[in-house]
Structure formats: structure tokens, C-alpha cells
């Protein structure tokens, strides 16, 4: 029996093995991914990102617990932690915060190191999420450290992206800087029992108002009806304004409300057609990445390494420019 058949039959060891193959991108994994692809497209992918120490793992733990207990959904978690740029090793410690989930076969937690590969992280995470999707998990939570572009890309794979903040991490200038806050579908202020929570919320709110200037009117009740009505008529979907949710993950506070926000976002995506758009964008990115990889491999096969090295050397010597080099290598 192949891995894909075993996985569709609910074999957890086969699932774990295939995840390793997918992460290592070995050729056999491609066969399995091809076989599993028709079974994908059902899971809700939730991205969770934010600065280190904001409590993402604890939040994911509580959220998964909530989905297990009240909704009986099967939950998969992909927890990404950074690899050392020097040794390539990693300590993956997200499981420490997820001990409440062990012993439940409806939950599958997989830790993953970033491995510093160029754009490879987003690709392998996407593939792993597809494997979980095909294996019948209703919800796939992808947790990343929101510190770099690749992590932002990973969070973007998701249908719903949570950006986790905590009080006392930065002033309102941090909040208006471009970056991970902009990708949020839901903003979470975790550790909200700490002092400074009002300031954090105020900073996030003002950031949202700057990001959605038309919605500033929206927040004033008297005028909101007028601005909302024509937009609905013209069949274009109303805008989603990221709600701000306060939580205390270690005590489980605010988790039900957060899950409610997530459910509202799913409803919004479904009604507005956003779900389809996100799926489309995700698969398009994936297709493009695969084409790029294939073309690069084909190029490597076509052009002898020696010729490549010679031309590279000429570029280094400033004899020819990189643009001319490309012409010589590809157009022959």
C-alpha cells in the first residue's frame, strides 16, 4: 500500500512519514502529493504569526482545544521555528505549550524548522498543509514566527491570518510600520491581562483606520448605513475590517470570542467570494513556483556546468554584464 492510500485510510505513521518526505522534498513525495491532490480543498487553513514571545503557541493550543471540545473538528498544527543560520540545526519548542493536546488522536502536531531555504519554506509548508487537508483534518493551523518575508509568505497561504500582539512590545509607531500587521485578518492582543493593553489596542485601532480610510466613516454609527448600502448594491463585497480580539491564552480567556471572529471571517470569505480568490491565488503561486523549479532544472541539464562557470567568471571580471550573460546562456 502506498503512503497516500494509507493516509486516506487514517494511518498516522504513514502521515508522519510522508510529511518528512514532503519536507525533504524527495521525488517519492511528489507521487504521493499528486495522488492526494484530488482529496484536498476542504480544510480551513489558519495562519498564526507575530513576534516571538507574544504567546502564539499557547494561543494555538487553546484554539485547537476549543475546536476539539466544542466543534469536534480534527485539527492539524504545523509549528514553524527558526533554524540556526550558522549550523542549520534547530530547537523546536512549540510542543511545550501544547501539552493539553497530547493523547487526543483528533490532533496532529508537527514541528518544522525554517531550514533557511530560498522560498522553500512556503512551498513545503503549503505541501504539508495539503497532506493534512487530504488526510481529513478540518482545520490546519500554521504557526510561524513573524520575523521575515518567508514567514509572512507562509501566513499568507492561509484562508484566515491571525497576527498576535502583546502589550508592551512597541509604541504606536511600530504599529504603523508596514509589515505583518497588514496581512492580518484578525488581530489578537494576547496577554491582555497585562498593563498597557489599552495603549496597544489604541495603536492597533489607529493603524486600522489608516489602513482602511473609507471605513473610518463606518465606525460612526450614524453614517455607517449610508456608506455600506451602495457598496452592497454594486455587488462588490463589503470590506473586511480586521477585528481586534483580546485573549489571555494561558487562562483560556477570549478564546471562544476569537473562534467566533474566525467563523465570521470564514462566512465573510464564503459570501464575498474571497475564499475562492484566496484558493486561486495560492494555487497560482504554487504552480508558478513549480514551473520555475522545472525550468531551472531544465536549464541546468541543458547548459554544462563548465560553460556556466566560465560565463559567471566573465561577469565577476566585469567583462560582460549579467544581462548579457543571461542572453549567452539561454538564447545561445
Amino acid at each position: 500500500m502506498t503512503y497516500s492510500q494509507a493516509i486516506l485510510g487514517g494511518d498516522r505513521l504513514a502521515l508522519a512519514r510522508l510529511l518528512t518526505q514532503v519536507e525533504n522534498d524527495v521525488p517519492e513525495s511528489r507521487t504521493a502529493l499528486i495522488e492526494l491532490f484530488p482529496h484536498t480543498g476542504k480544510a480551513h487553513l489558519i495562519g498564526v504569526t507575530g513576534a516571538p514571545g507574544t504567546g502564539k503557541s499557547s494561543l494555538v493550543n487553546q484554539l485547537a482545544l476549543y475546536y476539539r471540545k466544542t466543534k469536534e473538528k480534527r485539527v492539524a498544527i504545523i509549528a514553524v521555528d527558526p533554524s540556526s543560520p550558522f549550523t542549520g540545526g534547530a530547537v523546536l519548542g512549540d510542543r511545550v505549550r501544547m501539552r493539553d493536546l497530547s493523547g487526543d488522536t483528533g490532533v496532529f502536531i508537527r514541528s518544522m524548522a525554517t531550514r533557511g531555504s530560498l522560498g522553500g519554506l512556503a512551498q513545503s509548508t503549503a505541501n504539508m498543509a495539503q497532506v493534512f487537508d487530504a488526510a481529513g483534518f478540518d482545520i490546519v493551523i500554521i504557526e510561524t514566527v513573524g520575523a521575515g518575508q518567508s514567514e509572512v509568505d507562509v501566513a499568507r497561504l492561509a484562508h484566515t491570518t491571525l497576527v498576535v500582539e502583546a502589550p508592551g512590545l512597541g509604541d504606536d509607531i511600530q504599529a504603523i510600520k508596514a509589515g505583518i500587521l497588514e496581512i492580518a485578518d484578525i488581530l489578537v492582543i494576547n496577554k491582555s491581562d497585562r498593563p498597557g493593553v489599552e495603549n496597544t489596542e489604541k495603536a492597533l485601532k489607529s493603524m486600522l483606520e489608516l489602513a482602511h480610510p473609507t471605513e473610518r466613516v463606518f465606525q460612526h454609527h450614524g453614517q455607517s448605513m449610508r456608506t455600506a448600502a451602495p457598496r452592497q448594491d454594486s455587488s462588490s463585497a463589503p470590506m473586511w475590517i480586521p477585528p481586534i480580539q483580546r485573549t489571555v491564552a494561558t487562562e483560556g480567556k477570549g478564546i471562544a470570542e476569537l473562534a467566533e471572529s474566525i467563523a465570521l471571517h470564514v462566512a465573510y470569505l464564503t459570501q464575498s467570494g474571497g475564499w475562492g480568490l484566496r484558493e486561486r491565488a495560492r494555487l497560482e503561486v504554487e504552480l508558478e513556483a513549480l514551473i520555475r523549479e522545472k525550468l531551472l532544472n531544465r536549464f541546468r541539464e541543458d547548459v554544462p556546468q563548465k560553460r556556466y562557470d566560465e560565463i559567471l567568471e566573465k561577469v565577476i571580471q566585469r567583462n560582460i554584464s549579467p544581462w548579457e550573460a543571461v542572453r549567452m546562456l539561454i538564447d545561445k
Binding site: 508522519a16 522534498d25 549550523t87 530547537v91 501539552r99 502536531i109 508537527r110 524548522a113
Partner: protein, 132 residues
């Protein structure tokens, strides 16, 4: 293409709360280029075997300083086997009396490291065990 990494689960079964050694080892293995999954304190053998399965690790390192190694280790070994993971190499670190060494080896434990073991030795033994 990413290369194959050695994946290690470092776990603290039982009730003792001394995880300094486990963390030192985790860090040493990390610096040797391995991917180390740390589970935290007070894990049951069931939790450890489940984590080893989900993470598809090559090696499980158990840190035990409570003296309960003769009770905890066989249970972990049994569960790994029951899950189809008899290929996983198990190492133990902690306070292990000499007279237990042979019996632990008989249970299938690959190596035991006591106080004073060097991280170089641990890294080398883990690498060799995985290479087969």
C-alpha cells in the same frame, strides 16, 4: 532541495523537574545541525511515543533523574514498537546506576549518558546510531 536532517525528540518523562541537562543536550545537538524537538517537563510515556510518531523522529532522548528509568523506559520502548517505530534509536541521560545499564541495553536502548558525559560523545553516538 533540502537535505535530510537528523530529527531528535528530547523528552523528560516522569516527575522530576530537572531539565537543565536536557536543555544542554538539546542545544548541543542543535549546534551539531540536528533538529531537536523539545517536549517540556512531566511527560508520560504515551505522550512521548505520540510526539515521536507525529514528528517522525530518528532518535528519542529521555532525560530521567528521578530513578524511575526502569519503569519508564520499557513503557516507552513498547509504545514505540506498537506504533511501528522500532527503528527509532533511544538514548537515556541522567542518573543511571551501573547495574541497570545492561538491562536497559537489553530493552533496546542504544546508549546511556551519565553525569560528566561530553556533548561531543553524545553528538557522535547519535550520528553513528542514525547512520546505522
Amino acid at each position: 532541495m533540502t537535505e535530510k536532517k537528523i530529527r531528535v525528540l528530547v523528552a523528560k518523562p516522569g516527575l522530576d523537574g530537572h531539565d537543565r541537562g536536557a536543555k544542554v543536550v538539546a542545544r548541543a545537538l542543535r549546534d551539531a545541525g540536528m533538529e531537536v524537538i523539545y517536549t517540556g517537563l512531566r511527560q508520560t510515556p504515551e505522550m512521548i511515543a505520540e510526539a515521536a510518531l507525529q514528528e517522525d523522529v530518528d532518535v528519542v532522548g529521555l532525560s530521567i533523574l528521578s530513578g524511575a528509568h526502569m519503569a519508564l523506559t520499557p513503557r516507552v520502548m513498547e509504545l514505540l514498537k506498537a506504533n511501528g517505530q522500532s527503528h527509532v534509536k533511544v538514548f537515556i541521560g541522567g542518573i543511571i546506576p551501573d547495574e541497570d545499564l545492561l538491562r536497559l541495553k537489553e530493552m533496546g536502548v542504544t546508549g546511556v549518558f551519565g553525569p560528566g558525559a561530553s556533548t561531543e560523545d553524545i553528538i557522535r553516538d547519535v550520528q553513528m546510531a542514525v547512520a546505522g
